[in-house]
Every structure is written in structure tokens, then in C-alpha cells.
Subunit: 356 residues, 2 copies
């Protein structure tokens, strides 16, 4: 820490991203990336001619991409905001809509960044415990007097709230913003975008990093009321007007247009996930009911940390969270069928070694 850092950041604990080894060849099941490359259309549009145009700024209004997102979700373009990853969209939202008076609450076990944003923007932490079975109790959020952010499906549990439950939360909090982070919704969840027609206090946040196979392009978006989108633009244009780069705008637009490929990839992941879940259960694992591109699983024989380490020794990266209540679990991203086969074989062998 330098002697110049503002006092308010002296205690901040930044987010710790999953390992991103740049050199070794792991089977990488630790950061919920897609095992499939981006749509072939992305490869067509990100071409040499466009690389030459990098000398020019990107469109600060991101019109082309916003149009594609609006078309896909059948909303109007003034209901869409695009950020440099959904982390930036969330950061802008915490900054814009929360302060000492207007607090925000979220589940105690969820995407770790929500509490980091609270630290960054000097907000009180308001975690609400999950139920014993790791589900979100929607009633905890009804009429709660605060802004709300819920990942649905939740991470790292993979569990999902129903649209009816979310509607109850929206209905009972008319004067507070309800942000639903749908990073994983395309793998079996239900988007609450249709609820925007009735609820002006709803903001839906999605990402291109999972179901659109574009984690490395850094694209996330919010869909909400035009007034809320206007507020987000106020922050963006006061922070970094050219927040989305040229090639990512092209890549995202092409990916959004290729509905068939998106359906194909998400279906593949869902099928592989369901098979992997069955196989793990047969080995005695406890596996939560995932609606995402990962499984949250508890090993019957060794601790979560040990299981993570032994998998790593065998060239397989998964994610372990050293947090109370979930430290017995690991989070396993769904890879290709071949990768999951190898993962299962290693796991089986590890279990057999424990028995001996």
C-alpha cells in the first residue's frame, strides 16, 4: 500500500478470480467458461480488415450490439446497456443505485463480487443466509426495504428461483431496485426479462462469458427500464465512454445473431451436465440440482480442499471456496463430454484409492 491510497480503501479485500494458468495444460473446469469455441460467425467478422480498423475508436453508444441484444430479447434498444463484462455492469449498478441511505442485500453464499462492490463503494454488507438446503428463501427478500441483487441461478450452488418467487420479490419492493444476475440462466433457468413489462424496479444482468463462448471478449449487458439504462449511461459516460472495444462489439453482435449455435452449445452442456451428475451420484457424491454450466458437489470420502488438490495433481482444475458451509464442496465447470469422461475416471480412481 502506498502512502497516497485513500484511507477508505486501506482494508479492502479484492475479489480473487479463479486460477488462470497461462502456461500449463490443464483440463480447465474452474471458471465456468464454455468448452465450445465462439460461433463460426464470430470468426468471420473478426477478420484482418477489422483488425486494421483498430486505429479508430469504438462506437461509444455500442449501437450495433445493443440492436442485436434488443432484437434477441424483444425489447427496445433504450432498454439495453452493454459493459466491459457483466462485472462492469454490476459495478456501475452498485455505484449508481446504492449509497449509505439506499442499501443492498444479497445471499450470504453467492457470487463473491457483490460483497466486494459493497466494500469498494463504502456500502454496508447485508448478506442474507441461504436456507439449510442452500436454496434462496424468496420470502427473506419480500418487503425488505433495500435494493436486492440475486444471482439466478445462484453461484456456486447452481440452484434456481422460480419466476413466481422473483415476481413476489418485485411486487413487494416497488421502491427498491431488484437486480437479477442471470449469468447462468441459459443452461436450464428461466429468464425474468418478460417481467420487465410489469415491473419498473427490475434489472436483468447477463453475460457473453458463458453460453455465448466469449469470456475473453469481456461483454456483459443489462436489460431494464429506459430510465434505469439512462442512469447507467450517465455513469459510463462519466467513467469510460469507450468501455467496449471494436472487436468485442463485432464478436458479440455475431454471437447474438447465431441462435442455432447458441442453442446447440447450451443443450450440449446441459446433457453433459446431467450425465456427469448421475455418474458423480453413483460414486456417492452429493450433487446440488444445477441449472447452470457447473455442478456443485460434495465428495463422500475426502474434504473439498483435498479433492480439489488431488484433481489438480492429476491435471484437472476445479474451484474450491474456503468459506463456511460450502468448504466441503467443489464447483466443477461442465467441459466437453471427453473432458468430463476423463474427470470422472480420475475421480473414480481417487475414490478407489481412499477405500483401500
Amino acid at each position: 500500500m502506498s502512502r497516497f491510497l485513500s484511507q477508505r480503501f486501506s482494508q479492502i479485500k479484492p475479489y480473487v478470480p479463479g486460477e488462470q494458468p497461462q502456461d500449463t495444460e490443464y483440463i480447465k473446469l474452474n471458471t465456468n467458461e464454455s468448452p465450445y469455441p465462439p460461433s463460426p460467425r464470430v470468426l468471420q467478422v473478426v477478420n484482418q480488415k477489422e483488425v486494421e480498423k483498430l486505429r479508430l475508436y469504438s462506437d461509444p453508444e455500442v449501437k450495433q450490439l445493443i440492436q442485436q441484444i434488443a432484437d434477441f430479447y424483444q425489447v427496445s434498444t433504450d432498454q439495453v446497456f452493454v459493459g466491459n463484462g457483466s462485472d462492469e455492469v454490476l459495478a456501475f449498478s452498485f455505484m449508481a443505485f446504492c449509497d449509505q441511505q439506499q442499501q443492498i442485500c444479497y445471499p450470504d453464499i453467492t457470487y463473491g463480487f457483490y460483497q466486494v462492490f459493497c466494500q469498494l463503494f463504502g456500502l454496508q454488507q447485508n448478506p442474507i443466509p441461504l436456507k439449510q438446503d442452500f436454496t434462496v428463501d424468496y420470502q427473506d427478500y419480500c418487503d425488505c426495504g433495500k435494493n436486492i441483487v440475486i444471482a439466478n441461478p445462484n453461484a456456486p450452488t447452481g440452484l434456481s428461483l422460480s419466476l413466481e418467487e422473483i415476481e413476489q420479490i418485485l411486487k413487494t419492493n416497488p421502491d427498491h431496485l431488484v437486480m437479477i444476475d442471470e449469468a447462468y440462466v441459459d443452461f436450464g433457468g428461466t429468464t425474468c426479462i418478460p417481467l420487465l413489462k410489469q415491473y419498473s424496479n427490475l434489472m436483468v444482468i447477463q453475460t457473453f462469458s458463458k453460453s455465448r463462448s466469449l469470456a475473453g471478449a469481456r461483454l456483459g449487458f443489462a436489460i431494464s427500464s429506459p430510465e434505469i439504462i439512462q442512469d447507467l449511461n450517465k455513469i459510463k459516460f462519466s467513467y469510460n465512454p469507450y468501455n467496449v472495444n471494436r472487436l468485442s462489439i463485432l464478436a458479440g453482435s455475431a454471437a447474438m445473431q447465431d441462435r442455432l449455435y447458441w442453442e446447440y452449445c447450451t443443450n450440449e452442456v446441459i446433457q453433459t451436465r446431467n450425465k456427469t451428475k448421475c455418474a458423480l451420484e453413483q460414486l456417492g457424491f452429493t450433487v446440488l440440482d444445477s441449472k447452470t454450466n457447473f455442478l456443485f458437489a460434495r465428495c463422500p470420502k475426502i474434504s473439498g480442499e483435498d479433492y480439489y488438490s488431488k484433481l489438480k495433481q492429476n491435471g484437472i482444475l476445479v474451484r474450491h471456496f474456503d468459506q463456511e458451509r460450502i468448504q466441503d464442496f467443489v464447483r466443477i465447470t461442465i467441459g466437453t463430454p471427453a473432458q468430463m469422461e476423463q474427470f470422472l475416471q480420475v475421480t473414480k480412481r481417487l475414490m478407489e484409492e481412499e477405500t483401500q
Copy 2:
């Protein structure tokens, strides 16, 4: 404005970027982009194989690019921080190092974003007037009791402080951070990176958007003490750990390695600038002594706004700032020799029309 926006942003006036027409064919001399494409090496590394890898997150530590920047400027890698454009680097710096107690000052006529950041982060505005001849008086900043941000060369004037003057500012403000924004330094200014060896209160900020022909890739960086860089990383990892996308990391690394091409492009721009300046002066314009890739010029016959409009009607975009003291001027980005020839022809014709 939605009813959810935090009160503190109700009056915020976002930055207004230069026009970025996406459809019409203008000679675009309004946002200080390079007229030359990125290095041929950039085209080699941003290839189809890498586009396929967009399914994977980028390296949050941006190691490859940081190594290239460190090598180029002969500093150590822990002295380099990379952001999604230098606007993000500046935003993180204002956030990290300024608050109600630790204020910041800057010239009254300079990059318009500094005052926007003050608004965004709730800081007092402390503009210090330029001298009558539009130069920064370095003595105004000596022992000033505040953090300091100075664009050197300054925008939109193009004028530059000497290294000796900057050293006086550093020496007399040992307990305050001095940020030197060198966005335009490669076009004839002198970087103060060597002063880092003696002054731990110095931060130098540069961009890939001008001399590296990569405005559309969104890359900026800071070079400072390891402690200050660590602080910036604390903010980044609490805000958006994957702030730089995969293709931009590759593009930036390749551009930084191609020293010859960078020298070629900057020299071309400098020569074209000097020729254009002479030609404008022959037409009676007042042209400030630019060390940048633009000229700041006052038309002898019509107002700055009129000149801007008439150029636009003739397919040439320049930038006009509706701000006291400089509203008679326009800022003209240096394009290719052919573009500047056309710009001069149009200007000559406009001047002749005025005489008749």
C-alpha cells in the same frame, strides 16, 4: 433519470466524446486517432486461432502485455498497470488516491474528463487557469497542497511543459501524487518516466490510442512506483479483474514490440503536422506550438464554431469546444498527408469565400 439513482449523481454532467459517425464517410480529424493502421505484427497475432480462444477468460494479471511495456520503458513489471483505455486508468487513480481530504487540481483548460471524474467521485473542483498564452505555469502547482493531474503535452492546446518544470512540481509536492498524462507525448514531447527513479510521488499515464494506432482496442497504462501500482491493482480487482480482453492484450503486446513502425508513424505525423501548421499560418491562422498529433488553431476570419460547421459541410470533421477562452479555436487531428492536403484546400476555399 430513474427514481433509483443515488442523489449524489442527480447533477452529474457526463463527458461528451467527439462525434463517432458510424455510417458517413468523413475525413475524420476530430478524435486524435492515428491515420495509420496498427503495426503489421498486430494483424499477425490477432488471428483466427486466437479468436477461437475467446471462449477463455483473459489473463487478469495481463502479464504478457505488462512485460512488453516494462521492456520498452526499461522499468520493472511491478511498476506497470494496464487498463481498458487510459480513461479507466485515470478513473481508478482518481478513485484510489483522491477523497474529501486529499483533493486534486488540474489546469482549467485541459482534458475534459478530469473534472468529470471529480464529479463522479464527489471531489471538489480545483481548476487552475492557464496563462494568457495558454501555457501551464508550473509555479502554480509548486507546493500546492493537493494531488495534481497535468496532461503533458496538454490537450487541446498541444503545448508542453519541460522536464525541469515537472521536476520542480514533483520536488515541491513530496506528499502528494503527481499524475502526468502523456497521451500525446510520442509526437515531440519528452516523457518523464526517467524521473520515476528519483520521485516516488510520480505516476505517468500513457495510451495505445494515439501513437500505437489502437484506439479501438482500448488500452492505456500507468507507470509508477510498485506501491502505487499495487494500489491500482487493489481497485481493479475490486472492480473488474478481467478488465482487458484477450485480443487487446495480444494486439498491445505486438504493437509495443514493433519499435520501428511506431517511430515511422510518429515521425510521419510530426512532419505532416509541421507542414500543416506552416500552411495554416500562411492563411492567417493562429496556431499553437503543438507537440501532439493535433493542431489547435484560430481562424482569422470566422468563428471557431462556424469554421467547424463549414468544414463538416465539406466532409471534414474537426473538434470545437464551446468553452470560454478557447471557443475561437478548433482542434485538428493530423491525418495522412493526402487528408491534410484536402483539409487545407477546403480551408483555403472557405477563406477566399469570406474575403469576397
